[in-house]
Protein backbone atom coordinates (compact mmCIF):
# COMPACT_ATOMS: atom_id res chain seq x y z
CA UNK A 1 0.00 0.00 0.00
CA UNK A 2 1.63 3.21 -1.08
CA UNK A 3 1.22 6.61 0.48
CA UNK A 4 -0.90 7.64 -2.53
CA UNK A 5 -3.41 4.84 -1.93
CA UNK A 6 -3.74 5.71 1.74
CA UNK A 7 -4.45 9.33 0.87
CA UNK A 8 -6.99 8.30 -1.76
CA UNK A 9 -8.88 6.03 0.63
CA UNK A 10 -8.80 8.72 3.29
CA UNK A 11 -10.43 11.29 1.01
CA UNK A 12 -12.86 8.78 -0.48
CA UNK A 13 -14.02 7.55 2.91
CA UNK A 14 -14.29 11.13 4.11
CA UNK A 15 -16.46 12.07 1.14
CA UNK A 16 -18.77 9.05 1.45
CA UNK A 17 -19.19 9.27 5.22
CA UNK A 18 -19.92 12.98 5.21
CA UNK A 19 -22.38 12.49 2.32
CA UNK A 20 -24.24 9.91 4.41
CA UNK A 21 -24.17 12.16 7.45
CA UNK A 22 -25.43 15.02 5.28
CA UNK A 23 -28.63 13.26 4.23
CA UNK A 24 -29.39 11.96 7.72
CA UNK A 25 -29.20 15.26 9.61
CA UNK A 26 -32.41 16.97 10.63
CA UNK A 27 -30.95 20.46 10.82
CA UNK A 28 -30.47 22.02 7.39
CA UNK A 29 -27.41 23.95 8.53
CA UNK A 30 -25.72 20.75 9.69
CA UNK A 31 -26.53 19.16 6.33
CA UNK A 32 -24.95 22.12 4.57
CA UNK A 33 -21.81 21.81 6.71
CA UNK A 34 -21.44 18.14 5.83
CA UNK A 35 -22.04 18.91 2.16
CA UNK A 36 -19.11 21.31 2.46
CA UNK A 37 -16.90 18.58 3.88
CA UNK A 38 -17.97 16.23 1.06
CA UNK A 39 -17.00 18.86 -1.51
CA UNK A 40 -13.67 19.46 0.23
CA UNK A 41 -12.89 15.73 0.21
CA UNK A 42 -13.72 15.57 -3.51
CA UNK A 43 -11.38 18.51 -4.04
CA UNK A 44 -8.72 16.52 -2.23
CA UNK A 45 -9.14 13.68 -4.74
CA UNK A 46 -8.75 16.18 -7.61
CA UNK A 47 -5.53 17.36 -6.02
CA UNK A 48 -4.28 13.81 -5.73
CA UNK A 49 -4.89 13.35 -9.47
CA UNK A 50 -2.60 16.36 -10.05
CA UNK A 51 -5.51 18.39 -11.38
CA UNK A 52 -4.53 21.37 -9.25
CA UNK A 53 -6.60 23.84 -11.17
CA UNK A 54 -9.78 21.79 -10.77
CA UNK A 55 -8.98 21.38 -7.07
CA UNK A 56 -8.74 25.11 -6.56
CA UNK A 57 -11.77 25.89 -8.71
CA UNK A 58 -13.82 23.32 -6.81
CA UNK A 59 -12.95 25.08 -3.56
CA UNK A 60 -13.36 28.63 -4.83
CA UNK A 61 -16.64 28.06 -6.68
CA UNK A 62 -18.50 25.35 -4.80
CA UNK A 63 -17.19 25.64 -1.28
CA UNK A 64 -16.24 29.31 -1.17
CA UNK A 65 -19.03 30.70 -3.33
CA UNK A 66 -22.12 28.57 -3.80
CA UNK A 67 -22.18 27.02 -0.34
CA UNK A 68 -21.75 30.41 1.35
CA UNK A 69 -24.88 31.61 -0.44
CA UNK A 70 -26.67 28.33 0.46
CA UNK A 71 -25.88 28.85 4.12
CA UNK A 72 -26.89 32.48 3.82
CA UNK A 73 -30.34 31.46 2.58
CA UNK A 74 -30.77 28.53 4.99
CA UNK A 75 -30.00 30.72 7.97
CA UNK A 76 -32.66 33.22 6.99
CA UNK A 77 -35.36 30.59 6.41
CA UNK A 78 -37.48 29.73 9.41
CA UNK A 79 -36.09 26.31 10.16
CA UNK A 80 -38.00 25.51 13.34
CA UNK A 81 -41.06 24.49 11.34
CA UNK A 82 -39.08 22.23 9.06
CA UNK A 83 -37.33 20.51 11.96
CA UNK A 84 -40.59 19.70 13.73
CA UNK A 85 -42.23 18.21 10.66
CA UNK A 86 -41.85 14.53 9.89
CA UNK A 87 -40.16 14.60 6.53
CA UNK A 88 -40.80 12.14 3.74
CA UNK A 89 -41.08 9.24 6.16
CA UNK A 90 -44.22 7.89 4.45
CA UNK A 91 -42.28 7.43 1.24
CA UNK A 92 -39.51 5.55 2.99
CA UNK A 93 -40.34 2.25 1.33
CA UNK A 94 -40.42 3.88 -2.12
CA UNK A 95 -36.99 5.28 -1.39
CA UNK A 96 -35.74 1.88 -0.26
CA UNK A 97 -36.96 0.17 -3.44
CA UNK A 98 -35.38 2.89 -5.61
CA UNK A 99 -32.11 2.65 -3.72
CA UNK A 100 -31.98 -1.12 -4.11
CA UNK A 101 -32.75 -0.83 -7.84
CA UNK A 102 -30.04 1.76 -8.32
CA UNK A 103 -27.57 -0.29 -6.32
CA UNK A 104 -28.33 -3.35 -8.45
CA UNK A 105 -27.79 -1.33 -11.63
CA UNK A 106 -24.45 0.01 -10.44
CA UNK A 107 -23.34 -3.47 -9.39
CA UNK A 108 -24.36 -4.86 -12.77
CA UNK A 109 -22.53 -2.11 -14.59
CA UNK A 110 -19.41 -2.94 -12.60
CA UNK A 111 -19.69 -6.66 -13.31
CA UNK A 112 -20.48 -6.36 -17.02
CA UNK A 113 -17.99 -3.60 -17.71
CA UNK A 114 -15.10 -4.84 -15.59
CA UNK A 115 -11.88 -4.01 -17.36
CA UNK A 116 -13.51 -1.44 -19.64
CA UNK A 117 -12.06 1.40 -17.58
CA UNK A 118 -8.58 -0.04 -17.69
CA UNK A 119 -7.15 2.99 -19.47
CA UNK A 120 -3.44 3.26 -20.21
CA UNK A 121 -1.66 5.23 -17.51
CA UNK A 122 -1.07 8.86 -18.41
CA UNK A 123 2.55 9.89 -18.69
CA UNK A 124 3.82 11.59 -15.56
CA UNK A 125 2.88 15.23 -15.35
CA UNK A 126 0.84 14.95 -18.56
CA UNK A 127 -1.52 17.58 -17.19
CA UNK A 128 1.20 20.18 -16.72
CA UNK A 129 0.83 23.07 -16.85
CA UNK A 130 -2.72 22.77 -15.65
CA UNK A 131 -4.13 26.28 -15.72
CA UNK A 132 -2.65 27.09 -19.13
CA UNK A 133 -4.10 23.95 -20.73
CA UNK A 134 -7.58 24.55 -19.36
CA UNK A 135 -7.38 28.19 -20.43
CA UNK A 136 -6.32 27.24 -23.94
CA UNK A 137 -9.10 24.64 -24.21
CA UNK A 138 -11.79 26.99 -22.95
CA UNK A 139 -10.80 30.13 -24.80
CA UNK A 140 -9.56 28.67 -28.07
CA UNK A 141 -10.95 25.25 -28.86
CA UNK A 142 -14.30 25.53 -27.06
CA UNK A 143 -14.70 29.29 -27.32
CA UNK A 144 -18.28 29.23 -28.67
CA UNK A 145 -19.80 26.75 -26.19
CA UNK A 146 -18.05 28.61 -23.40
CA UNK A 147 -19.51 31.96 -24.49
CA UNK A 148 -22.97 30.43 -24.92
CA UNK A 149 -22.81 29.02 -21.41
CA UNK A 150 -21.79 32.39 -19.99
CA UNK A 151 -24.61 34.16 -21.81
CA UNK A 152 -27.04 31.58 -20.45
CA UNK A 153 -25.81 32.28 -16.92
CA UNK A 154 -26.09 36.02 -17.50
CA UNK A 155 -29.66 35.64 -18.71
CA UNK A 156 -30.52 33.54 -15.67
CA UNK A 157 -29.00 36.15 -13.37
CA UNK A 158 -30.86 39.05 -14.99
CA UNK A 159 -34.04 36.99 -14.92
CA UNK A 160 -33.66 36.36 -11.19
CA UNK A 161 -33.11 40.06 -10.54
CA UNK A 162 -36.12 41.04 -12.64
CA UNK A 163 -38.36 38.50 -10.93
CA UNK A 164 -37.20 39.38 -7.42
CA UNK A 165 -37.31 43.12 -7.81
CA UNK A 166 -40.50 44.48 -9.37
CA UNK A 167 -39.37 48.07 -9.50
CA UNK A 168 -35.85 48.68 -10.65
Amino acid sequence: MTFDTIIFYFFAAFAVVSAIVMITRRSAVHSAVFLITTLLATAGIFLQLEAEFLFVVQIILYVGGIMVLFLFVIMLVNLDVAVRQIQFSRQAWVGAVLAIALGAQVLMAFRLGSGAFNLPAASTRAMQPNAEQIGAALFQRYMLPFEIASILLLVAMIGAVVMAKRKI
Binding site: T2, F3, S27, V29, H30, V33, I36, E52, F53, F55, V56, V57, I59, I60, V63, G64, G65, V68, L69, L71, F72, M75, L76, Q128, P129, N130, A131
Partner: protein
Protein backbone atom coordinates in the same frame (compact mmCIF):
# COMPACT_ATOMS: atom_id res chain seq x y z
CA UNK B 1 10.90 -1.81 3.90
CA UNK B 2 12.21 0.93 6.20
CA UNK B 3 14.29 2.45 3.47
CA UNK B 4 11.28 2.57 1.17
CA UNK B 5 9.13 4.32 3.75
CA UNK B 6 11.94 6.79 4.32
CA UNK B 7 12.17 7.41 0.60
CA UNK B 8 8.43 8.07 0.39
CA UNK B 9 8.48 10.41 3.36
CA UNK B 10 11.70 12.21 2.44
CA UNK B 11 10.19 15.02 0.26
CA UNK B 12 7.83 15.89 3.10
CA UNK B 13 10.42 16.44 5.82
CA UNK B 14 11.45 20.02 5.02
CA UNK B 15 7.90 21.27 4.37
CA UNK B 16 6.75 19.75 7.65
CA UNK B 17 9.53 21.56 9.51
CA UNK B 18 8.56 24.83 7.81
CA UNK B 19 4.91 24.26 8.67
CA UNK B 20 5.69 23.58 12.33
CA UNK B 21 7.82 26.73 12.49
CA UNK B 22 5.02 28.84 10.99
CA UNK B 23 2.29 27.39 13.21
CA UNK B 24 4.47 27.83 16.28
CA UNK B 25 5.62 31.37 15.55
CA UNK B 26 2.39 32.82 14.19
CA UNK B 27 0.38 33.08 17.46
CA UNK B 28 3.30 34.88 19.08
CA UNK B 29 3.58 37.19 16.09
CA UNK B 30 -0.17 37.88 16.19
CA UNK B 31 0.11 38.76 19.88
CA UNK B 32 2.89 41.22 19.15
CA UNK B 33 0.97 42.75 16.27
CA UNK B 34 -1.86 43.38 18.73
CA UNK B 35 0.63 45.07 21.03
CA UNK B 36 1.98 47.10 18.12
CA UNK B 37 -1.56 48.07 17.21
CA UNK B 38 -2.30 49.27 20.73
CA UNK B 39 0.98 51.14 20.87
CA UNK B 40 0.50 52.82 17.49
CA UNK B 41 -3.09 53.72 18.41
CA UNK B 42 -1.93 55.15 21.72
CA UNK B 43 0.79 57.24 20.14
CA UNK B 44 -1.57 58.54 17.46
CA UNK B 45 -3.93 59.58 20.25
CA UNK B 46 -1.11 61.10 22.34
CA UNK B 47 -1.21 58.36 24.99
CA UNK B 48 1.37 55.86 26.18
CA UNK B 49 -0.46 52.57 25.57
CA UNK B 50 0.40 49.40 27.54
CA UNK B 51 3.32 50.21 29.86
CA UNK B 52 2.89 48.00 32.91
CA UNK B 53 3.79 44.45 31.91
CA UNK B 54 7.46 44.45 31.05
CA UNK B 55 9.36 47.45 29.70
CA UNK B 56 7.08 49.49 27.42
CA UNK B 57 4.49 46.73 27.81
CA UNK B 58 6.59 44.25 25.87
CA UNK B 59 5.31 41.25 27.83
CA UNK B 60 1.66 42.32 27.51
CA UNK B 61 0.83 39.75 24.74
CA UNK B 62 2.01 36.90 26.96
CA UNK B 63 -0.03 38.17 29.90
CA UNK B 64 -3.06 38.50 27.61
CA UNK B 65 -2.62 34.97 26.30
CA UNK B 66 -2.40 33.52 29.81
CA UNK B 67 -5.50 35.45 30.84
CA UNK B 68 -7.45 34.19 27.83
CA UNK B 69 -6.41 30.59 28.42
CA UNK B 70 -7.48 30.71 32.05
CA UNK B 71 -10.82 32.38 31.39
CA UNK B 72 -14.02 30.43 31.85
CA UNK B 73 -15.22 28.91 28.60
CA UNK B 74 -18.90 29.73 28.25
CA UNK B 75 -21.19 28.00 25.74
CA UNK B 76 -24.68 29.51 25.61
CA UNK B 77 -27.43 27.12 26.68
CA UNK B 78 -29.37 27.20 23.43
CA UNK B 79 -26.36 27.33 21.15
CA UNK B 80 -25.75 24.66 18.53
CA UNK B 81 -22.94 22.89 20.41
CA UNK B 82 -21.24 21.15 17.49
CA UNK B 83 -21.05 24.19 15.25
CA UNK B 84 -20.24 26.52 18.13
CA UNK B 85 -17.27 24.31 18.85
CA UNK B 86 -16.31 23.86 15.20
CA UNK B 87 -16.56 27.46 13.95
CA UNK B 88 -13.48 29.05 15.58
CA UNK B 89 -11.46 25.98 14.63
CA UNK B 90 -12.51 26.33 10.98
CA UNK B 91 -11.59 30.00 11.04
CA UNK B 92 -8.11 29.51 12.43
CA UNK B 93 -7.34 26.35 10.40
CA UNK B 94 -8.17 28.02 7.11
CA UNK B 95 -6.17 31.10 8.07
CA UNK B 96 -3.12 28.97 8.84
CA UNK B 97 -3.55 26.75 5.77
CA UNK B 98 -3.06 29.73 3.48
CA UNK B 99 0.60 29.94 4.59
CA UNK B 100 1.29 26.69 2.74
CA UNK B 101 1.78 28.49 -0.56
CA UNK B 102 3.19 31.80 0.66
CA UNK B 103 6.89 32.22 -0.17
CA UNK B 104 8.58 33.86 2.80
CA UNK B 105 11.86 33.87 0.95
CA UNK B 106 13.42 32.29 -2.13
CA UNK B 107 13.83 29.03 -0.19
CA UNK B 108 11.41 29.28 2.71
CA UNK B 109 8.15 28.05 1.18
CA UNK B 110 6.14 25.01 2.22
CA UNK B 111 4.89 24.17 -1.28
CA UNK B 112 5.43 25.97 -4.58
CA UNK B 113 2.09 25.12 -6.19
CA UNK B 114 1.45 25.82 -9.85
CA UNK B 115 -1.78 27.48 -8.77
CA UNK B 116 -0.36 28.96 -5.56
CA UNK B 117 -2.19 32.27 -5.71
CA UNK B 118 -5.55 30.63 -6.43
CA UNK B 119 -4.93 28.20 -3.58
CA UNK B 120 -4.34 31.03 -1.12
CA UNK B 121 -7.44 32.88 -2.32
CA UNK B 122 -9.55 29.70 -2.10
CA UNK B 123 -8.42 28.78 1.37
CA UNK B 124 -8.69 32.27 2.79
CA UNK B 125 -12.21 32.56 1.37
CA UNK B 126 -13.11 29.47 3.44
CA UNK B 127 -12.37 31.40 6.61
CA UNK B 128 -15.80 32.96 6.18
CA UNK B 129 -17.38 29.70 7.36
CA UNK B 130 -15.89 30.20 10.79
CA UNK B 131 -17.62 33.55 11.00
CA UNK B 132 -20.95 32.55 9.43
CA UNK B 133 -21.34 29.29 11.34
CA UNK B 134 -20.14 30.82 14.60
CA UNK B 135 -22.62 33.65 14.23
CA UNK B 136 -25.47 31.28 13.49
CA UNK B 137 -24.57 28.70 16.15
CA UNK B 138 -24.47 31.32 18.91
CA UNK B 139 -28.25 31.65 18.62
CA UNK B 140 -28.09 35.39 19.16
CA UNK B 141 -29.40 38.22 17.00
CA UNK B 142 -26.23 40.27 17.20
CA UNK B 143 -24.12 37.29 16.20
CA UNK B 144 -26.36 36.38 13.28
CA UNK B 145 -26.42 39.96 11.99
CA UNK B 146 -22.65 40.13 12.24
CA UNK B 147 -22.31 36.85 10.38
CA UNK B 148 -24.64 37.95 7.59
CA UNK B 149 -22.85 41.25 7.20
CA UNK B 150 -19.54 39.48 7.05
CA UNK B 151 -20.70 37.03 4.38
CA UNK B 152 -22.18 39.80 2.23
CA UNK B 153 -19.07 41.92 2.60
CA UNK B 154 -16.69 39.12 1.76
CA UNK B 155 -18.60 37.96 -1.31
CA UNK B 156 -18.76 41.55 -2.61
CA UNK B 157 -15.16 42.51 -2.09
CA UNK B 158 -13.65 39.22 -3.19
CA UNK B 159 -14.62 40.06 -6.78
CA UNK B 160 -12.82 43.40 -6.73
CA UNK B 161 -9.76 41.89 -5.04
CA UNK B 162 -9.64 39.03 -7.53
CA UNK B 163 -9.89 41.35 -10.54
CA UNK B 164 -7.14 43.55 -9.10
CA UNK B 165 -4.88 40.53 -8.67
CA UNK B 166 -5.51 39.38 -12.25
CA UNK B 167 -3.71 42.42 -13.67
CA UNK B 168 -0.61 41.51 -11.68
CA UNK B 169 -0.99 37.94 -12.95
CA UNK B 170 -1.06 39.23 -16.53
CA UNK B 171 2.26 40.96 -15.95
CA UNK B 172 3.79 37.96 -14.20
CA UNK B 173 2.34 35.37 -16.55
CA UNK B 174 1.97 32.68 -13.89
CA UNK B 175 -0.13 31.61 -10.92
CA UNK B 176 2.81 30.35 -8.91
CA UNK B 177 3.80 32.78 -6.14
CA UNK B 178 7.47 32.06 -6.65
CA UNK B 179 7.32 32.63 -10.41
CA UNK B 180 5.52 35.95 -9.82
CA UNK B 181 8.40 37.25 -7.70
CA UNK B 182 10.94 35.96 -10.21
CA UNK B 183 9.04 37.79 -12.98
CA UNK B 184 9.40 41.02 -11.02
CA UNK B 185 13.10 40.34 -10.70
CA UNK B 186 13.34 39.94 -14.47
CA UNK B 187 11.30 43.02 -15.36
CA UNK B 188 13.40 44.96 -12.87
CA UNK B 189 10.54 46.87 -11.22
CA UNK B 190 7.98 45.89 -8.64
CA UNK B 191 4.53 45.51 -10.13
CA UNK B 192 3.18 48.28 -7.88
CA UNK B 193 4.93 50.76 -10.19
CA UNK B 194 3.33 49.20 -13.27
CA UNK B 195 -0.22 48.75 -11.91
CA UNK B 196 -0.60 51.15 -8.95
CA UNK B 197 -4.38 51.26 -9.36
CA UNK B 198 -4.64 47.50 -8.93
CA UNK B 199 -2.61 47.80 -5.76
CA UNK B 200 -4.96 50.47 -4.47
CA UNK B 201 -8.04 48.35 -5.25
CA UNK B 202 -6.48 45.31 -3.62
CA UNK B 203 -5.55 47.30 -0.53
CA UNK B 204 -9.11 48.57 -0.02
CA UNK B 205 -10.61 45.16 -0.74
CA UNK B 206 -8.18 43.36 1.54
CA UNK B 207 -9.14 45.62 4.44
CA UNK B 208 -12.79 44.82 3.79
CA UNK B 209 -12.09 41.10 3.49
CA UNK B 210 -10.29 40.91 6.81
CA UNK B 211 -13.12 42.87 8.50
CA UNK B 212 -10.80 45.62 9.61
CA UNK B 213 -11.75 49.22 10.33
CA UNK B 214 -13.06 51.28 8.56
CA UNK B 215 -14.95 48.26 7.17
CA UNK B 216 -15.32 46.35 10.45
CA UNK B 217 -19.12 46.27 10.27
CA UNK B 218 -19.43 42.55 11.19
CA UNK B 219 -18.09 43.40 14.64
CA UNK B 220 -19.17 47.03 14.88
CA UNK B 221 -19.22 47.50 18.63
CA UNK B 222 -21.54 50.49 18.56
CA UNK B 223 -24.24 48.51 16.73
CA UNK B 224 -23.73 44.78 17.28
CA UNK B 225 -21.87 44.52 20.64
CA UNK B 226 -19.12 42.37 19.09
CA UNK B 227 -20.87 40.97 16.02
CA UNK B 228 -20.28 37.28 15.37
CA UNK B 229 -18.00 36.99 18.40
CA UNK B 230 -20.57 38.26 20.90
CA UNK B 231 -21.19 34.90 22.59
CA UNK B 232 -17.60 33.70 22.50
CA UNK B 233 -15.22 34.01 25.40
CA UNK B 234 -11.85 32.78 26.56
CA UNK B 235 -9.88 30.51 24.31
CA UNK B 236 -12.43 30.24 21.50
CA UNK B 237 -12.57 34.02 21.29
CA UNK B 238 -8.80 34.16 21.11
CA UNK B 239 -8.89 31.66 18.22
CA UNK B 240 -11.08 34.11 16.28
CA UNK B 241 -8.64 36.84 17.12
CA UNK B 242 -5.71 34.74 15.98
CA UNK B 243 -7.53 33.97 12.72
CA UNK B 244 -8.15 37.67 12.08
CA UNK B 245 -4.50 38.56 12.54
CA UNK B 246 -3.31 35.52 10.59
CA UNK B 247 -5.57 36.61 7.73
CA UNK B 248 -4.15 40.12 7.90
CA UNK B 249 -0.66 38.69 7.51
CA UNK B 250 -1.86 36.52 4.60
CA UNK B 251 -3.32 39.43 2.64
CA UNK B 252 -0.18 41.44 3.39
CA UNK B 253 1.83 38.51 2.10
CA UNK B 254 -0.20 38.36 -1.11
CA UNK B 255 0.16 42.10 -1.67
CA UNK B 256 3.89 41.89 -0.92
CA UNK B 257 4.41 39.00 -3.31
CA UNK B 258 2.36 40.37 -6.18
CA UNK B 259 2.93 44.10 -5.97
CA UNK B 260 5.89 44.80 -3.69
CA UNK B 261 8.39 42.36 -5.10
CA UNK B 262 8.21 39.60 -2.49
CA UNK B 263 11.63 38.83 -1.10
CA UNK B 264 13.47 41.17 -3.51
CA UNK B 265 15.28 44.06 -1.89
CA UNK B 266 14.57 47.64 -2.98
CA UNK B 267 16.32 48.41 -6.29
CA UNK B 268 16.79 44.73 -6.97
CA UNK B 269 18.10 45.42 -10.48
CA UNK B 270 21.05 47.44 -9.13
CA UNK B 271 23.83 44.86 -9.17
CA UNK B 272 26.90 47.09 -8.60
CA UNK B 273 29.79 45.93 -6.42
CA UNK B 274 31.33 49.00 -4.81
CA UNK B 275 34.93 49.25 -3.52
CA UNK B 276 35.65 45.70 -4.65
CA UNK B 277 33.39 44.16 -2.00
CA UNK B 278 32.51 40.49 -2.56
CA UNK B 279 28.75 41.23 -2.36
CA UNK B 280 26.39 43.68 -4.04
CA UNK B 281 26.54 47.15 -2.53
CA UNK B 282 22.85 47.39 -1.60
CA UNK B 283 22.87 44.04 0.20
CA UNK B 284 24.46 45.88 3.09
CA UNK B 285 21.19 47.72 3.79
CA UNK B 286 19.82 45.23 6.40
CA UNK B 287 23.07 45.52 8.39
CA UNK B 288 22.78 49.31 8.38
CA UNK B 289 19.10 49.14 9.39
CA UNK B 290 19.86 46.96 12.41
CA UNK B 291 22.81 49.16 13.42
CA UNK B 292 20.55 52.20 13.15
CA UNK B 293 17.98 50.53 15.39
CA UNK B 294 20.71 49.66 17.90
CA UNK B 295 21.93 53.25 17.94
CA UNK B 296 18.39 54.54 18.39
CA UNK B 297 17.79 52.15 21.30
CA UNK B 298 21.09 53.20 22.87
CA UNK B 299 20.00 56.83 22.66
CA UNK B 300 16.67 55.94 24.32
CA UNK B 301 18.44 53.86 26.96
CA UNK B 302 20.68 56.73 28.01
CA UNK B 303 17.62 58.89 28.62
CA UNK B 304 15.83 56.27 30.78
CA UNK B 305 15.74 57.17 34.46
CA UNK B 306 14.53 53.83 35.86
CA UNK B 307 17.47 51.38 36.18
CA UNK B 308 15.41 48.33 35.12
CA UNK B 309 14.15 50.07 32.00
CA UNK B 310 17.68 51.18 31.20
CA UNK B 311 18.95 47.63 31.57
CA UNK B 312 16.26 46.21 29.27
CA UNK B 313 16.86 48.89 26.68
CA UNK B 314 20.54 47.99 26.64
CA UNK B 315 19.51 44.37 26.16
CA UNK B 316 17.69 45.53 23.03
CA UNK B 317 20.82 47.36 21.87
CA UNK B 318 22.67 44.07 22.25
CA UNK B 319 19.96 42.18 20.35
CA UNK B 320 20.08 44.55 17.40
CA UNK B 321 23.87 44.48 17.30
CA UNK B 322 23.76 40.69 17.23
CA UNK B 323 21.17 40.76 14.42
CA UNK B 324 23.30 43.24 12.48
CA UNK B 325 26.32 41.00 12.96
CA UNK B 326 24.32 37.98 11.78
CA UNK B 327 23.21 39.90 8.68
CA UNK B 328 26.79 40.98 8.02
CA UNK B 329 28.02 37.40 8.41
CA UNK B 330 25.35 36.06 6.07
CA UNK B 331 26.49 38.48 3.31
CA UNK B 332 29.20 36.08 2.25
CA UNK B 333 27.60 32.80 3.33
CA UNK B 334 25.64 30.48 1.01
CA UNK B 335 22.50 31.17 3.09
CA UNK B 336 22.59 34.83 2.06
CA UNK B 337 19.65 34.68 -0.38
CA UNK B 338 17.38 32.93 2.13
CA UNK B 339 18.16 35.13 5.13
CA UNK B 340 18.11 38.48 3.32
CA UNK B 341 15.05 37.45 1.29
CA UNK B 342 13.19 36.57 4.48
CA UNK B 343 14.27 39.87 6.02
CA UNK B 344 12.93 41.98 3.15
CA UNK B 345 9.71 39.97 2.96
CA UNK B 346 9.03 40.52 6.65
CA UNK B 347 9.86 44.22 6.40
CA UNK B 348 7.40 44.68 3.52
CA UNK B 349 4.67 42.71 5.30
CA UNK B 350 5.15 44.87 8.39
CA UNK B 351 4.94 48.07 6.33
CA UNK B 352 1.67 46.86 4.78
CA UNK B 353 0.34 45.88 8.22
CA UNK B 354 1.26 49.33 9.50
CA UNK B 355 -0.99 50.67 6.72
CA UNK B 356 -3.84 48.58 8.17
CA UNK B 357 -3.31 50.10 11.61
CA UNK B 358 -2.96 53.59 10.21
CA UNK B 359 -6.27 53.33 8.33
CA UNK B 360 -8.01 51.98 11.41
CA UNK B 361 -7.12 55.03 13.48
CA UNK B 362 -7.67 57.52 10.66
CA UNK B 363 -11.00 56.74 9.02
CA UNK B 364 -14.42 56.59 10.68
CA UNK B 365 -16.47 53.42 10.15
CA UNK B 366 -18.57 53.20 6.99
CA UNK B 367 -22.31 52.63 6.97
CA UNK B 368 -23.30 49.29 5.48
CA UNK B 369 -24.97 50.69 2.36
CA UNK B 370 -21.95 52.94 1.80
CA UNK B 371 -19.73 49.91 2.02
CA UNK B 372 -21.80 48.00 -0.54
CA UNK B 373 -21.96 51.03 -2.83
CA UNK B 374 -18.22 51.50 -2.70
CA UNK B 375 -17.68 47.84 -3.48
CA UNK B 376 -20.19 47.29 -6.25
CA UNK B 377 -20.47 50.69 -7.89
CA UNK B 378 -16.91 51.93 -7.66
CA UNK B 379 -14.29 49.25 -7.01
CA UNK B 380 -15.64 46.49 -9.26
CA UNK B 381 -16.18 48.67 -12.39
CA UNK B 382 -12.82 50.33 -11.75
CA UNK B 383 -11.13 46.94 -11.40
CA UNK B 384 -12.72 45.73 -14.65
CA UNK B 385 -11.63 48.79 -16.63
CA UNK B 386 -8.20 48.67 -15.05
CA UNK B 387 -7.80 45.04 -16.09
CA UNK B 388 -8.79 45.91 -19.65
CA UNK B 389 -6.35 48.82 -19.77
CA UNK B 390 -3.50 46.78 -18.33
CA UNK B 391 -4.15 44.10 -20.94
CA UNK B 392 -4.11 46.74 -23.71
CA UNK B 393 -0.92 48.28 -22.33
CA UNK B 394 0.72 44.87 -22.18
CA UNK B 395 -0.33 44.15 -25.76
CA UNK B 396 1.15 47.45 -26.95
CA UNK B 397 4.39 46.73 -25.10
CA UNK B 398 4.82 43.11 -26.14
CA UNK B 399 3.33 42.98 -29.65
CA UNK B 400 3.88 46.49 -30.94
CA UNK B 401 7.15 47.15 -29.17
CA UNK B 402 6.10 50.25 -27.28
CA UNK B 403 8.42 51.42 -24.55
CA UNK B 404 7.20 49.98 -21.20
CA UNK B 405 6.91 53.43 -19.60
CA UNK B 406 4.58 54.77 -22.32
CA UNK B 407 2.24 51.78 -22.17
CA UNK B 408 2.13 51.99 -18.36
CA UNK B 409 1.33 55.71 -18.47
CA UNK B 410 -1.33 55.16 -21.13
CA UNK B 411 -3.02 52.28 -19.27
CA UNK B 412 -3.03 53.95 -15.87
CA UNK B 413 -3.93 57.37 -17.28
CA UNK B 414 -7.02 56.03 -19.04
CA UNK B 415 -8.04 54.12 -15.90
CA UNK B 416 -7.65 57.29 -13.83
CA UNK B 417 -9.87 59.21 -16.27
CA UNK B 418 -12.49 56.49 -15.90
CA UNK B 419 -12.11 56.58 -12.10
CA UNK B 420 -12.64 60.34 -12.09
CA UNK B 421 -15.80 59.96 -14.19
CA UNK B 422 -17.03 57.13 -11.97
CA UNK B 423 -16.29 59.15 -8.85
CA UNK B 424 -18.13 62.23 -10.07
CA UNK B 425 -21.03 60.03 -11.17
CA UNK B 426 -21.33 58.13 -7.90
CA UNK B 427 -21.00 61.32 -5.84
CA UNK B 428 -24.69 61.92 -6.46
CA UNK B 429 -26.80 60.31 -3.71
CA UNK B 430 -28.38 57.03 -4.78
CA UNK B 431 -31.98 56.09 -4.11
CA UNK B 432 -30.93 54.08 -1.03
CA UNK B 433 -29.06 57.02 0.39
CA UNK B 434 -31.95 59.34 -0.29
CA UNK B 435 -34.22 56.90 1.52
CA UNK B 436 -31.85 56.75 4.48
CA UNK B 437 -31.63 60.55 4.55
CA UNK B 438 -35.43 60.72 4.40
CA UNK B 439 -35.79 58.43 7.41
CA UNK B 440 -33.17 60.44 9.28
CA UNK B 441 -35.05 63.65 8.56
CA UNK B 442 -38.20 62.35 10.26
CA UNK B 443 -40.10 61.83 7.04
Amino acid sequence: MNARILEEIQPFILPVIYAVVIVAVLPLLAGYIVLLERKVMAHMQARMGPMRVGPHGLLQPIADAVKLLLKEDIIPDKADKLLFWLAPLASVTMALLAYAALPLGPTFQIADLDVGLLFILAVSSLGIYGIVLGGWASNSHYSLLGALRSAAQLVSYETAAGLALVSALLLGGSLSMKALVEAQDQVGVWFIFLVPISFFIYMVASIAETNRAPFDLPEAESELVAGYMTEYSGFRWSLYFLAEYANMIVVSGIATTLFLGGWLRPLASFHQHLFGMPFEALDILPVLIFFGLAAWCAKLALRQAVPVQKFVMFLFVGLFVVLAAAMAWSLTSPLMAGIHGGFWFIVKVLVYLYGFLWFRFTFPRYRFDQLMKLGWQFLIPLALVNLLMVAIGLLLHQQFGWWLLWSVILANGLTLVFAAWLGSDSAKPSSTEAAVAGVGGGK
